[in-house]
Structure formats: C-alpha cells, structure tokens
Amino acid sequence: MVTGIPSSPEELSHLAWRAAAQVVDPEIPVLTIVDLGVLRGIDVKHGRVEVTITPTYSGCPAMNVIALEIEAALRRAGIAEVSIRTVLSPAWTTDWLTEDGRRKLREFGIAPPKPGGGRRLLFGQETVACPRCGSADTHLLSQFGSTPCKALWRCGACQEPFDYFKCH
C-alpha cells in the first residue's frame, strides 16, 4: 500500500521522475530511459502527470513497451492519473546518451556510439574500439545487427564478435 502521495506539483513531479527513471530499455536492460535520453520531461497539471518521451528509431518496437512500463512504474509509485506523450521534435540522437550510459554499454559488451557521429562518419571509415579488450583492430560484419540500433562487428585481437550501437 502506497501512502503519502505528495500534493504539491513539484514533489509529485519529482516522485514521477524518480519512478519513470527506473524504467529500462527492454532490449538493452542495463540502460535506463534517462541514460538513453528518451525521458524528456514530466508535467503536472491538476494532479495529472504527463510523461514526455521521444522515440529512438522510427520503427523501434521497444517504444511501446517503454511507454507501458512507465505507466506501470508510476502506478506502483501511487500515481494513478498518468498519460504518456510522444514528441518527435527535436529528434532523438545517439548524442543524447549520457556518459554513464556509454560506460554501462561498454561494460555490457556493446561498443557505444561516437558522440557527434552521424552522416559524416556514416560514409567514412569508422573505427570502433572492441568493448572487451579495447583493441582498435576491429571489422564490420554487418551494418544491421540484432536490433535496429546495432551493427555487428568482430575484434581481430580477441576474436570476439560484438554489437556496436550505431550513430543516429
């Protein structure tokens, strides 16, 4: 039983943020939606909480799950009146991944995207450090990996295949 739901909008907003910030990406469970930069804001109006998120990729199936999880997390925190708003602009970019998020990705075995990446890098030669041994002797196996956001690479030094979070 949850008791003591704050009545002031500021406190309610903080409570809602703390609850939403626990939600993780279902496909990369080491990253929270704050690490990803998907959670954009919380608005409180007349006791109702509106959570604003922004989609990562146009067709990312994780977005539906994330929206459901946010609603569930807020309800668990005792907040019943919840709505989720999806905003497209400004468009999400991998540059919004936090430093903490990049470190967690590396520890999870996924090479993080380069900050400031994007088109310029896309058509040039990318160098990606192996998240396991740190070697730069790595090769692209396939531009499209296990999820829309990842490419498949292999390390020439430790011979391990690994995922690379693509720049977007």
């Binding site: 990729y57 146009s58 196996l141 499209f144 829309p148």
Partner: protein, 260 residues
C-alpha cells in the same frame, strides 16, 4: 472503432494526400522487405532486410499517425494501412514490384534509397514542424539503407558472371519505374511553393549522380531508354499491389476491428 470491412474515404486535401503518398511508399516497400524474413540468402542479410523493413514501416506509422491528426476524423494509423483498396494507395509503382531474386530486391532498394535519402534530408527544412521531425529520423535511417544497397549493387555487379547478369537484368527491369520518383502534381506543387513539401524534381541531379557512380563502380550499364512507367500517384497500380494488400490486410478484412 466500428466493425466494418468497408474501405474508408480519405479527405482530399493536398496535405493529407501528400503525407499519404510518403507513408504508402514506406509501408509497401517495408512490407516487401518483410517478405524476405526467414528467406534471405544468409543470416546477416535476413536481419538487414528485416531491419530496413522495420525502419520503413516505422516511418509509415509516424506518417499515417500524422495523416490521422490532419484529418481529425477519429482514425488511427491502422485505418489507412488496412482499410484502403489498391486504387486508394498512392505509392510509387517501383516499391510494389515483386521481390524477384536478391539482385532485384537490392536494385529496387538502391533506386528508392538513392532518392529517399536526399528527399528526407531536404524535408528536415520543411515549414511543417511534424514533417520536419519525422524527416530528421528518416534521413538518418535512409542513409544506412542507401549505404547497404550501394555496397550490394557493387558487389553483385562486379562479382561473378551470374551475379552481374542478374544485377543487370534487375536494373533493366526496374529502370522504367524510376521516372515516377520525380513526379509532382498540381496539389503537391502548391505545397512545394509553401515550403511544406520537397520538390522531387530538384533531386533528379543528386539521384542521377549517386546512381551513375554506383552503377559504374558495379561495372553495370544504366539503360538508355527514357520511356517511363507511371500511375502509382494517381492510384493506377500494377497487378502486384492487390496481391500484396490481400496478405497485408487479410486479418482486418476477415476479422474487422480485431485488436492485439
């Protein structure tokens, strides 16, 4: 949502029709690519084609959702995908062409992506904030699609005798569908004037340059024929679209209003 198999009637305003065309291109090509799932020549390509298909269907969802907002008739993205018949679809004839062999799929993807990539990039400057935001996502995705398709066109063309013959056959077969990429009608030209829409004709140079460079590197030949097939934007489709829709719409037409 009412239980009906009756096809919906769409508001004939320029902006609605304009956004629908872009959505239809993305949905139909995305559906075609999804047909490769589990059948591609190798696992990496199975994942690549499915991933690209997913990106395109995602773009279609955002665009259909915007159409629903513009129409304000209480519809959602699914209404447009499932409750319109072939003549109501306004996609390019290119994207509805059957997958054929792997070379045919790759060349179709290359012709479309070499257009979509500069198109979405130009669209990021649209005065319509929603279209600009959708374009900001789509242009990054289409850049990956273009790179993937270009690399394969080169590999197939400059590959074995067999792969070159198949790639050349695909180029020859699909060439007549590329003229439609650059078409715009009266209504669309109004939106172009208002800087809401992108003028497709302005991208012909960029497309030809990209196409020419890749075709050359692939040791293939661009056909000299200038006769172009047209009709998709007006709802006059090849026989292939009806077959595609019968599969795409099967569930909603059989069990109207069914939900997950």
């Amino acid at each position: 949502m009412s239980l009906t198999t009756t096809s919906i009637k769409i508001a004939q305003t320029p902006i609605v029709l304009y956004v629908l065309r872009r959505a239809d291109d993305a949905l139909i090509l995305g559906h075609r690519l999804s047909e490769w799932c589990g059948h591609a020549p190798m696992l990496e390509e199975d994942m690549a084609l499915s991933n690209i298909g997913l990106d395109l269907i995602g773009q279609a969802r955002l665009l259909y959702t915007y159409v629903a907002e513009l129409e304000g008739a209480g519809r959602d993205e699914d209404s447009y995908a499932y409750l319109r018949d072939a003549p109501q679809y306004r996609n390019l004839l290119l994207v509805e062409q059957p997958n054929g062999d792997f070379a045919m799929t790759i060349v179709r993807q290359f012709f479309y992506s070499a257009f979509a990539d500069p198109y979405w990039r130009a669209m990021t400057a649209s005065k319509d904030a929603t279209l600009a935001a959708i374009a900001a996502k789509a242009e990054k995705e289409s850049a990956y699609h273009l790179r993937h398709a270009s690399e394969w066109v080169i590999r197939l063309g400059d590959g074995t005798e067999e792969s070159q013959a198949r790639a050349q056959a695909a180029v020859d077969e699909l060439w007549a569908f590329t003229g439609e990429l650059f078409e715009a009608d009266e209504a669309e030209r109004e939106l172009i004037k208002e800087a809401v829409a992108v003028d497709p004709a302005s991208l012909r140079g960029a497309w030809s340059k990209m196409m020419g460079a890749v075709i050359r590197e692939a040791t293939l030949k661009a056909p000299s024929s200038s006769w172009m097939q047209t009709g998709g934007r007006g709802g006059r489709h090849s026989e292939h679209l009806g077959h595609l829709l019968s599969e795409l719409q099967y569930l909603q037409r059989t069990y109207p209003g069914a939900r997950w």
